[in-house]
């Protein structure tokens, strides 16, 4: 018996997501390694401290490019609506798996939308501050006060990105049936109806 499925992500969207995700993992590991000595062992992932320092900015450019292409594909569906704000009021019940009678939301819930906009802002910030910190190419151009500010901002923005990504990964694991949307591209109709009813109505209308 074949399960009824709907398409959630096109091939190009999945490709962008995973290029961003893989480069993010390498960036987080090498970035944390240079942030706190407790994480320095993570520098081994890229072949030691010096290789981490050399490769981190290049991988960063890859992530920025793939993320912003991905973001242009998704931004329209990430505008926050009145239904989202209503949905947010049930957030405690949702966390306890006790939510009933939720407002009909679209392709993304407000948590996903916050994640989207936080990533847009912090990744832009990481790009700008990262260029300022990029030795030996760009750092010598800037006054040391600017480099100091960039270093602090880069650390704070990196922390925020890692934090929201932990929440992002956990949410995908916690809400069963979500991960396949990004690996196979489809979700079950039941999943779509339950979690994103307005989006389900829209896509099923288009299909029939």
């Amino acid at each position: 018996m074949s399960e009824q499925v709907v398409t959630r992500y096109k091939v190009s969207e999945r490709a962008n997501h995973w290029v961003t995700a893989i480069s993010f993992m390498l960036l987080a590991a090498s970035g944390l390694a240079l942030f706190h000595p407790a994480f320095f062992f993570l520098s081994n992932l890229l072949g030691g401290g010096t290789w981490s320092r050399i490769l981190h900015p290049f991988i960063g450019v890859v992530m920025v490019v793939s993320f912003f292409i991905f973001a242009t594909q998704l931004w329209k569906q990430n505008k926050i609506t009145a239904a989202d704000r209503e949905w947010q009021k049930h957030f405690g019940d949702i966390l306890r798996n006790k939510a009933t009678q939720l407002p009909e939301i679209g392709k993304y819930n407000i948590g996903q939308k916050y994640l989207f906009w936080i990533l847009v802002i912090t990744i832009a910030l990481l790009l700008v501050s990262g260029v300022v910190m990029w030795q030996p190419w760009f750092t010598p151009i800037f006054p040391v006060a600017v480099v100091r500010l960039a270093s602090l901002l880069h650390a704070i923005a990196g922390f925020v990105v890692i934090l929201v990504t932990i929440v992002h990964i956990y949410s995908a694991y916690w809400v069963k049936g979500t991960v396949r949307g990004m690996t196979r591209g489809t979700v079950t109709a039941a999943w779509a109806k339950h979690h994103h009813p307005a989006w389900y109505k829209e896509v099923s209308k288009g299909n029939r």
């Binding site: 706190h36 010096t50 966390l95 798996n97 030996p136 602090l152 929440v167 916690w174």
Partner: protein, 290 residues
């Protein structure tokens, strides 16, 4: 590899204790008496010879500063300033620039590579280039703009205060060679005492603002200056008046580190415990059939 004959007080990016079996060690200092310096640059040459460094031959830019700036090959540079503190009375102030060996070193605080920067118990701050990853955070952290990254190997270099000489009981090469005795070396206590005598002498000769440069903002330094105009260190090629580690660097490599690391760990645990207490969020069966 740190010098085994010297105890270590602090190592970069290291949270465990440093080797320190030898007990109390005398704190050392180099004292540079600017009023005695004739700008002969013998110290620059001695530094090149002892450390086996050869900078590229530069071009004359209309000043005596040669080379123009500190580099990975030039760990000390004479900076010449022509000033008139009193109208009509020209003074030629020559400052031997280089690492100040801060008691609270901004480079070491900023460095993310374990053991790339060490501070010996005697006060010398030394770079161990084999551990350096070339990120340049030491430059970002330094209040005196001293470290330089080599274009050849991507490692950071600066004055070692001849730790390899001091470790076997010798004075730094620049001190050894100085023909006027403008540079002296010994225990920090003795150097402060020696400076006091020089300052009294300078004051008698009319330099009423003569004083010692040992800035407390960085915990004092292990390279100190006797300045004729200690009230205006900026006259000496922009020597900072009250240097300290930038608040930006303190925040970046201070409280942010443990707090952010703790928060990230907490987020992972919160997720795990949420899952084992609340369970997965599954689409209920009746919705499958509806």
């Amino acid at each position: 590899m740190a010098l085994q004959s010297l105890d270590i007080k602090a190592r970069s990016a290291t949270t465990s204790p440093s080797p320190a079996v030898r007990g109390e060690v005398i704190k050392v200092a180099k004292l540079i008496d600017i009023s005695k310096c004739i700008g002969c640059k013998a110290c620059q040459v001695a530094c090149m010879e002892w450390n086996d460094l050869r900078d590229e031959v530069g071009t004359n830019a209309g000043t005596y500063d040669n080379p123009r700036d500190l580099t990975d090959q030039s760990w000390t540079v004479m900076r010449f300033s022509e000033v008139e503190v009193q109208a009509g009375k020209l003074e030629w102030l020559i400052r031997k620039d280089g690492c100040m060996h801060c008691a609270d070193p901004g480079c070491l605080k900023a460095c993310p590579a374990p053991g790339a920067i060490v501070q010996y118990t005697n006060g010398i701050v030394d770079f161990h280039e084999e551990n350096c990853i070339g990120c340049g955070y030491c430059i970002t952290g330094c209040p005196f703009n001293v470290p330089r990254i080599s274009k050849k190997d991507g490692k950071a270099y600066k004055c070692t205060l001849c730790s390899d000489r001091v470790g076997v009981g010798m004075e730094p090469a620049c001190v050894k060679t100085c023909p006027t005795g403008a540079i002296v070396f010994g225990s920090k206590e003795d150097m402060i005492h020696h400076a006091e005598g020089r300052i009294t002498d300078l004051k008698e000769r009319g330099y009423k603002n003569a004083g010692l440069y040992d800035p407390s903002g960085v915990g004092g330094t292990h390279v100190m200056y006797v300045l004729q105009h200690a009230d205006q260190p900026g006259l000496y090629a922009n020597l900072p008046k009250d240097p300290s580690i930038s608040a930006m660097v303190s925040l970046w490599k201070g409280v942010t580190k443990p707090l952010a690391s703790f928060a990230l760990g907490l987020a992972v645990f919160a997720g795990f415990f949420h899952y084992v207490t609340s369970g997965p969020n599954e689409v209920e069966d009746e919705e499958h059939t509806s």
